[in-house]
Amino acid sequence: MSDQPEMIRVEAVSKTFTLHNQGGVHLPVFRDVNFSVRAGEVLVLAGASGAGKSSLLRILYGNYLPSGGRIEIRHDGAMVDIASALPRTILEVRRRTLGFVSQFLRVIPRVSALDIVRDPLLARGVEPAEATERAGTMLARLNLPERLWSLAPATFSGGEQQRVNIARSFVDPSPVMLIDEPTASLDARNRDVVVELIAEARSRGSAIVGIFHDESVRERVATRWLDITHFRAAADAA
């Protein structure tokens, strides 16, 4: 594994929220987090509820700002510091390198499930016909009934929306994938599909950081663990 390139390098990353409208209270979450992830690894984040797992993942995506530190992501062969990059650079890194799989699908009015799944392929220049076929294959693997494909997911059940979201994320796995509780409302059969998809992305060389509530999923996908409670203690003591 150590011959694989480092895809993510996190150095001395800290996060403290300041709630200005609640008396300016400071909420230290973690401090001095360091780790790196190579291509083909799955790093699982562990720690109690509220420890800051999701916050750390969002910082890696550029969705939250770190209070300090560097987050380097390998993009086009060079390391880009997400903490200091311009918005347009972050968008470009997201488009081609960095994917985020959240628990919830953000529904866009009037866009069909199939189009939502096709979108990342089109954005990366795949021909429309091929994109449609690959999107359909992915939705079928996740057992989404074909009669739903042409509908906008606003009216879908939680589990159906989640599967559309997963299909969108895995139809063309990004070189770096950040995954936050993707299986929360899935049944065992679809959970197994997600485990397979993660394994496939990994074997294609994706570097993955994930949070999984389900212990069996966690054990099946992890190649390494990081308990962020350890960094929380440092924040509390500061």
């Binding site: 347009r88 009015p109 009037r110």
Partner: protein
């Protein structure tokens, strides 16, 4: 934060298309906007948010050449690779020409952007004539194509805008703006004053058009859900000044400034 990322988002472009440098405008003693600076890159969609009276429209009017700022400058790259022009250094007539050809301005009230006594086809075709097109058949063909694109039936090409609903008028205004193939589009509350369902349709249309055409756009809105759906970047204004700026989903999900935290917490889910 799963907003669809535009494929046109700015690869390979080395220079901003528009640069605002300390733009300020006062109404007597009162600040309209003050010291606003930012760069806009080709293909980028910038949102301007803030509460009523925070200076959003004032700033947009300066950026789009309608009102002259009292201080600061607005630089614009009129064609790819051309030198930056300070738009307020240009003679009035040249600035007007630029506004009609290289830019599009979508007004909140369609009446401000449409000629109400001219047919729908004429409203769209007029912009092509501004650009020097004189071929009637071609103009009518382009007008028909654009009406269809904004989901107005081609059969209504000879109707006047006052025979249209508010949502249709707004879509017609958008067709009139986009037909001349602008490099940069300004929109002030493009979905304001419309029913929620009509808004959703218009928003989806705008989202697709901006993406397919690779437009640069500056959109003023007080609606954070609209900002999330349409924009790449946000600037947040309060009392005429920019208090926070950044990637749209970051500003909305992890706001740093007290005012932005108030603004985002006042909305249930965006």
């Amino acid at each position: 934060m799963n907003a669809l990322v535009s494929p046109n988002a700015l690869q390979g472009t080395l220079r901003p298309i528009l640069s605002a440098r300390s733009v300020s405008r006062y109404y007597g003693e009162r600040i309209g906007c003050a010291g606003v600076s930012f760069d806009l890159w080709p293909g980028e969609v910038l949102g301007i948010v803030g509460e009523s009276g925070s200076g959003k429209s004032t700033l947009l009017r300066c950026l789009s050449g309608i009102d002259r700022p009292d201080a600061g400058e607005v630089l614009f790259e009129a064609t790819p690779g051309a030198d930056f022009l300070d738009i307020f250094d240009l003679p009035e007539q040249d600035r007007r020409h630029l506004m009609r050809t290289a830019w599009g301005i979508v007004h909140q009230n369609p009446r401000d952007g449409l000629r109400m006594d001219v047919s729908a086809g004429g409203n769209v075709g007029e912009r092509l004539m501004d650009r020097g097109d004189r071929h009637y058949g071609r103009i009518r063909e382009a007008a028909t194509e654009w009406l269809t694109r904004v989901e107005i039936e081609a059969a209504r090409i000879d109707d006047r805008p006052r025979q249209f609903s508010g949502g249709m008028q707004q879509r017609l205004q958008i067709a009139r703006v986009l037909v001349s193939n602008p490099r940069l589009v300004f929109m002030d509350e493009p979905t304001g004053g419309l029913d929620v369902s009509v808004q959703a349709r218009l928003l989806d249309l705008l989202r697709v058009l901006v993406r397919d055409l690779g437009l640069a756009a500056i959109i003023v809105t007080h609606d954070l859900a609209v900002a999330r759906l349409l924009t790449d970047r946000l600037i947040v204004m309060k009392d005429g000044r920019v208090v926070e700026a950044g990637l749209t989903d970051q500003v909305l999900d992890d706001p740093q400034h007290a005012y932005t935290q108030l603004l985002t917490s006042a909305v249930l889910a965006v």
